[in-house]
Symmetry: C5
Subunit: 355 residues, 5 copies
């Protein structure tokens, strides 16, 4: 449940703009990485104090400052001072409860993304909130700091001048970061697809209550996934259409591409939801079918043996005057009657296709 | 049911604008608090008669008049006269049946909010209607008067000049009041989330009819919560976009922030609704599963013992000529047959995975 | 079913604008009431022939002509001639099958409303179609004529100059008539709410098939209610926004008020629908639960007694050589075995929480 | 199924605009009727070859050419040549698979309607596609040619100069044709309403699998009906709003009237759908209820007689030493015990309200 | 599952615009066909290397280059260079995971379509992605290369100058290609319709779990089909409305025609979905009905024989003093009682309509 509602209530009553970290602390010490590049030059370093990265603000080249670990409020405050960020932006970066959103503060654009990780065995989907600030010549990115940085491939691209990233501006860098988050959704969707496939096989071969629990668990992951991706679509759509001078027209085409990917993800989620609903129907009807099978066995055995048991009971009575008992062939005759009754019953069941 | 439809019918037939209090009387005597402040000065007092607070209307500083307890119609009338409120506004303040809404009367803006309190054990969600009037330099707030004032933290902020509230105008004050109501929704959502979690555990370990009743009760709370929050979204959205001179541009950013919070609340409510629906499916299938279990036990016992009972019945018959009865090993042979039949049955059940 | 589709088919093939009354005749003889008023003067009379009310058309004061009973086509025709109404309007007034709607004929506005009456015991909701024609200084209202006029309080207000009605124009009169219809919906909603509450208690204490029928009946009333109220919302919204010179700006505020009431009614209907759906789920699961209970009793009794009956059967066999029968303590030993088997079964049931 | 997908696949691969009749041939030989009228004159004749009706195109009076039977492609081709119809229009007239639609070709407007016939006993709803071409002074109508022409009343109106049809132009004629199709929907809806009522009675008195089949069949008719009426609403709405010089303003009011009727039809269809869904719920719960009843009888009989049969079994054993058997009152005492057990069981069932 | 999510994850981390083929390789060697035509001339040839088709770009006549098999990235790259295609377009052509979409690059329009094939017995629906590039005087089409080219009829039309295709430009060619894809949907829909019909018959005559699996399989095909057709509607709508100089007005009418067809397809899919949902309800209720039947048989046999077996048990007891046993007519009297009990039971069942 932590996933659905993080303890935001502690903030109730504090004045707006108060900086409080809401969420789990995921790394001990925040790491700050600064990358500066233009088509010719490239410089990358890890800095200790946030003051070290301020000079970059004024440069012509593109500067990318990545902060991993956001629970140290004072770091945020200093960055906010240096880059002139609105207190509400800082508050939102600290609050990992955000939905994906985009806010245009004219001088910079603030974007919230949700990076997702999936582990079907244990916890299902876990989330890391990623905040981006896109300025005229800089990008600030804030991660909660779950192990395994998804931005590493981007860094490699910049370092090795692969693709067109070194020739483009800060807006293109922001685009690649968003793109890498969306690309990651496809990975998750494939894993979820495999889990659905496994459940489907279970459903056909051996439906058990655990299968249902599995279906429900995946259904919930879908709700969760949807919640992270749906608003993203709007975010990217806004970014693409926006006439902010911060986003160049050449980047617009690329944004339309990520937009398409987001719709593909949403589409697949909806398909999965429909599939899981269908699986629920199959499960419920398979329970009913099994009940039918069990009751049919009971009925067949009972309706064959209860009447013939009655006959044996009748000739087990101790009345003094029971003429049949004295007959020479009474006993074999009774057996004959019993066999006929049983045969008729079997015939009846056969005709009704029960056996 | 009181919660869903309050006795509004009494008003049918009265001319519009007739002031009648609809709802429960929640406090004996209304309390009127007046706070006057600007960046330098601050004054707070509780007044006895409403006339005492009229002089404040003309001042330059921001005046906040808070009325707790709205069942005394004459107080409303006087305030209405003094601040030039439309009779329909007064009527709406008195009618605690309102949905959250915003009405722009040019000289002032009238806003209706729903303050919620949750007590899972007893009554579920209870509501207090909060009406705000935002004028150029004053804010009037009307509460029904449930114990424990949610505006206390705001008062403390003004008193201690915490945050930026003392530097801003009446619109910022109105914003903080709205913000405190929305912040409170997060508290309720967390409590509901915990109750859902408890129910889910029950569902897995020991699903009983009471579990279903619990699910349904929470579902109803969701309906109710939704009804209070959905229109609020529109209210705040309207306030943010509105070009009323009463709302300054600097406050717009803050309103966008509350707007985001409202959407987060709505989002979580929808997620909860989906989760509760899933729980209903699990409950229903667990009933079916249990029926299956019970019937399986019946079938296994019956199909093993009914046939062998028939055999004992057959050799309990009293026919004079029953050759088997005279056999030396007739009795142990019958036992052998019985054991074989039972073993075959068990084998059959094992093969069908019933045992 | 009459309520859902009235015999409109009779009209198929007639040219449009042909005046035919569709619906039940609810009063024997139509009653025509004329009220004329301005701030100073007031005159009210019941007229015999419709011609008597024509002079009023030209006066400066507000004239309200109310016709109760619409099955006399010739009356409609004369009024149509006098006030210059379009044949399609007259046709619609006669056809009680209309949805609430508003049509602006520039010189007058034609409004259709649905007055509702609820009688939970007998028929559920019954409808009376109310047509209003709002002209520059007159209002014509047409009712089907169900006993108990809902416009009586309006008449009293005019007569006694209560509220602001005498100071306002024809548009305000039209507003009060609409308002009285909407106010009446709250009465119905409260009654429906009470019926839902009663059903809910039944559902908890003693769910029977009749409870389900009751739920379905209420569900249908909701469908019906919704059908009458949803389009009304649009009607009033259109009236409020409309820039027709027939509706003065001062009346706009009042219309917004009725608009809010309509939304409250719709809101409550939706809540009721959700509640009734939840009740259906509870009912279905309670049937399943009861089946479980019944089958459990059968299973417990059967699984205890069927095996032990087999044992008695075994020692009731008549084989000549059955050594146990000769044992001194054979009989009590068999009882001991029986008791042990029964005890083990009970233990098993206890462990599975069946008893 | 024919109804849902007609064999359109034969056309795959042919160039667009190729004239192929898709659908059943419903009459042997097409009938062509020409009516020419203005306020004073009226002329009606059945023509043999389509060339006979070409002179009418140039006249001032309104010309209505009605073609019954559309499978003769060459007739269509000639009309197309004469009136300058686009090949795609001709193709669409021939393809009876169309949805209702309106296409404005500036010089004429092309409208597709669906005429419906209902026969609850046999086939349910059957459809006839009606195509209208509205030109400046002519209307062309194409019917598939099912027996019983629905346009006969229109012809009578023109012939006898009833209503205002002779005084109006071609657009009014088109309106009356559309109106007659929509009026016909009311007839079908009433018949469907009666069938639903019959099914409802069955559901209460004697629910059988056939009742369910009936409900499903009606549900499907609703899907089908909806598919024909929904797009019609848009067609008429477009026609009403359209500023085509072909539709005069005076006709606009009449079109608004048909538009209202279409919405009434849609409204009723939705109500019927909701009602049929409710009937499904009642049917399913009535099956469950009956299972409960059956199982209850089984349980009552079994739990009373199985224990007492065990007792008789016990005293039917043949142990040599069974002291009770020698007791003077052993036999009546056993009967007493049996009666007491049975009575206690009955009491238990009574307390659980099973009997 | 492959169908729902193709392995797109391999691309995560690569810079955007990197050309990687995503999907199965469906043909060994790509085939490139070039067709050049105007009203007078026609030339068609299969080329070996892509360079052979570059001269066509500059000609006045319409050039259609069709590439079957898209897994050879270098071919795409060369075409991209020659026709100046954006890298993102090439990336999208290679990625067979696309939804149908349209992108306007001013100089050319890029369209993605989904060609569908249905094989009810084996795999259900399989998809081939078709990409079109519409330039001022050329059309490029890219197919994955499933056997049996759907564009053959188009080629024949051009070759034989059938229809108007040779007189029109590249936009009309693009239209015919789209039209042929949509026409193909009708073929699939008819096949699906037949499969639904077969399932419905099964459902009535002999509902088995496989019937349900069949229903679910078809439901999934519908989800899949819908996913391919829904966005196509928007694509064609955009193309029709678009004011790109690449699409001539005369082609607009034809595009409206395909647009209508797409809506017909969507309409039928929705109808099928509703029908399949209804079939699920029927299946579930038929399981319940059969359970009822089985349990009824059990109950009837049990309730008749269990009481009479008890009676025989009673007179099988071995008490010394059992006066009835000595009666002359005790034995026939017991039979009489048994027959009466059985008859009463049968009467009871008859009255409850169980037999």
């Amino acid at each position: 449940m932590v996933r659905v509602v993080k303890r935001r209530s502690e903030k109730a009553g504090l004045p707006p703009g108060t900086l409080v970290h809401i969420g789990e602390k995921k790394v001990e010490k925040p790491t700050i990485t600064v990358i500066e590049y233009d088509e010719m030059n490239f410089q990358e370093k890890e800095v200790d104090t946030i003051e070290d990265c301020f000079p970059y603000k004024e440069k012509e080249a593109v500067t990318w400052i990545n902060v991993e670990g956001i629970h140290r409020v004072e770091i945020l405050e200093k960055i906010g001072d240096c880059f002139g960020l609105h207190p509400l932006v800082l508050e939102d970066i600290l609050n990992t409860n955000q939905r994906p959103k985009l806010e245009d503060y004219v001088e910079y654009i603030y974007i919230v993304l949700k990076m997702l990780y999936y582990d079907g065995k244990r916890d299902g989907i876990t989330v890391e909130q990623v905040s981006l600030i896109l300025g005229p010549n800089y990008v600030l990115s804030f991660q909660e700091g779950i192990a395994g940085d998804i931005f590493d491939p981007m860094r490699a691209q910049i370092r090795n001048a692969k693709g067109r990233i070194r020739k483009m501006g800060a807006d293109y860098l922001a685009y690649t970061l968003i793109d890498s988050v969306v690309d990651n959704y496809f990975v998750i969707i494939e894993e979820l697809g495999e889990d659905i496939e496994l459940l489907e096989e279970d459903l056909v071969t051996d439906p058990r209550p655990e299968t249902l629990t599995g279906v429900q668990k995946l259904k919930r992951e879908m709700i969760f996934l949807r919640r992270s991706v749906w608003p993203l679509r709007e975010v990217i759509g806004t970014l693409e259409r926006r006439e902010s001078p911060l986003v160049k027209e050449s980047t617009g085409l690329y944004l339309r591409d990520v937009y398409d990917h987001t719709i593909q993800v949403i589409d697949t989620i909806e398909t999965f939801r429909d599939m899981l609903s269908g699986m629920l129907d199959i499960y419920l009807s398979s329970i009913s079918n099994r009940l039918n099978e069990v009751v049919k066995v009971l009925t067949i055995i009972s309706t064959i043996f209860i009447p013939v048991t009655f006959i044996t009971g009748a000739y087990g009575m101790n009345f003094r005057y029971m003429p049949e008992l004295q007959y020479r062939y009474g006993y074999p005759l009774v057996w004959l009657v019993i066999v006929i009754i049983a045969a008729l019953m079997l015939l009846y069941f056969r005709r009704r296709k029960w056996i």
